[in-house]
Amino acid sequence: MTLTTNPHIDKDLVPILEQVSDPEIPVLSIMDMGVVRSAIVEGKKVAVEITPTYSGCPAMDVIGDDIKAALKAEGYDATIDLILHPAWTTDWITPRGRKALEDYGIAAPLEAEADKAVLLKGEQIVKCPQCGSTRTKLVSQFGSTACKAQFKCMDCEEPFDYFKCLK
């Protein structure tokens, strides 16, 4: 469980990795997304482990390349491994990451129970990231990417994405 809650990332690398953003959600750093599971320096070499949000996530190849480039700019030579276990969960998105999502116009994931009530029973709990109203309606269980669902706000009438809870 230590790996789940505290990925081992060498302190010197944190500021570098924080500059790498999720290509689908540019306001979100991959660190706040929780996809970096370990990063260990040995001399000028760095071994990085990342984990996909979804198996088919097409952003992973880009994220890997971006990490390599960011580390290279600081003089490190990085190898990237994609690990599947422990599997990514939306719990790993940091509070700062959740705020970045909301500011960007994506509703942050709810807890598992509330998520089910929203997606299966049509309950109005998801808060519109534009106007804050909870009079919102599920349009589609799948949105612009596999990790999101499509919603509509019935007060400001804006459509928006909701980041689905994944546990």
């Binding site: 198996s55 088919g56 599947l84 589609s140 596999a146």
Partner: protein
């Protein structure tokens, strides 16, 4: 491309290679079928849903085939395994190769597979093969969403209009003969069950039909009463649809060998 397979956990084994194909080919061929709907779904939302499910399935396939490539140990890549086999070397069940036909068929096929897939992955999580168990743990979170989506639609269509009801009932009836094959234990599967690696799918059958029938009841639909079922896919004997799928799937690799995206 990155490597998702943990080197030290690899078991070199011919039966395991074939077992991996059995699992992964279901996702590959169903993913290909769903991919055909890109831009052709009945509405924007269902179009996106089907293609998102397809993407999840392809992602899972990549992990299985990367592992299969390591086991083969002769330089075969995930792409080679996906694109360059002959029809009889594909081990998917007949259910997943059935055509989209209309939205009712697409949903019925998805539902009949998703319920199985979820039961299957729940058991595969416990596999002694740590690479397989990791893939299962990852995939199961995605397949829960797939199952919700297809179950929801079976209920909406079944308990919807007279037309949607009759269409989904016909689709369930027509696809029912292909469900039993999901629980057939092949030789490679049997060998892997003994090692604690594979799932004994024959044990999932009762639970599967109970779950399916509960949803059908709620959807005001009837489970067909059938004595004889179709099989063959798991041993490479496919329906006529398979050749057409493969010609689509393999076209680019056959025409421009070794091409990369």
């Amino acid at each position: 491309m990155f490597n998702t397979i943990v080197e030290k956990y690899i078991m070199k084994n011919e039966d395991l290679y074939h077992y991996l194909l059995e699992i992964a080919d279901n996702s590959l061929i169903l993913g290909q079928r769903l991919g055909e709907l890109t831009g052709h779904g009945p509405s924007l939302e269902t179009d996106i849903a089907c293609t998102n499910i397809s993407l999840d399935l392809f992602g899972q396939v990549r992990s299985y085939f990367q592992y299969a490539g390591k086991i083969a140990g002769d330089g075969r890549t995930e792409d080679d395994i996906a694109m360059l086999r002959k029809e009889r070397e594909y081990k998917n069940v007949l259910l997943v190769e059935q055509p989209n036909t209309d939205f009712a068929y697409t949903i019925a096929r998805q539902f009949l597979f998703d319920v199985y897939h979820l039961l299957f992955l729940t058991e595969l999580e416990k596999s002694k093969d740590l690479n397989l168990s990791a893939i299962a743990k990852k995939s199961i979170k995605e397949v829960r969403y797939h199952t919700r989506f297809s179950t929801d639609w079976v209920k909406r269509l079944g308990d919807g209009t007279e037309e949607s009801h009759s269409k989904i009932q016909k689709a369930i009836n027509d696809l029912w003969p292909y469900t039993n094959e999901l629980f057939q234990v092949t030789e490679p599967c049997q060998a892997m069950i003994k090692k604690g690696v594979a799932v004994d799918v024959s044990q999932l059958k009762t639970n599967y039909y109970q779950k399916i029938e509960a949803v059908l009841n709620e959807a005001t639909l009837k489970a067909p009463d059938l004595k004889y079922f179709q099989k063959g896919g798991k041993t490479g004997i496919h329906t006529e649809h398979m050749g057409y799928i493969l010609s689509d799937l393999q076209y680019m690799q056959r025409t421009y060998p070794n091409m990369e995206w």
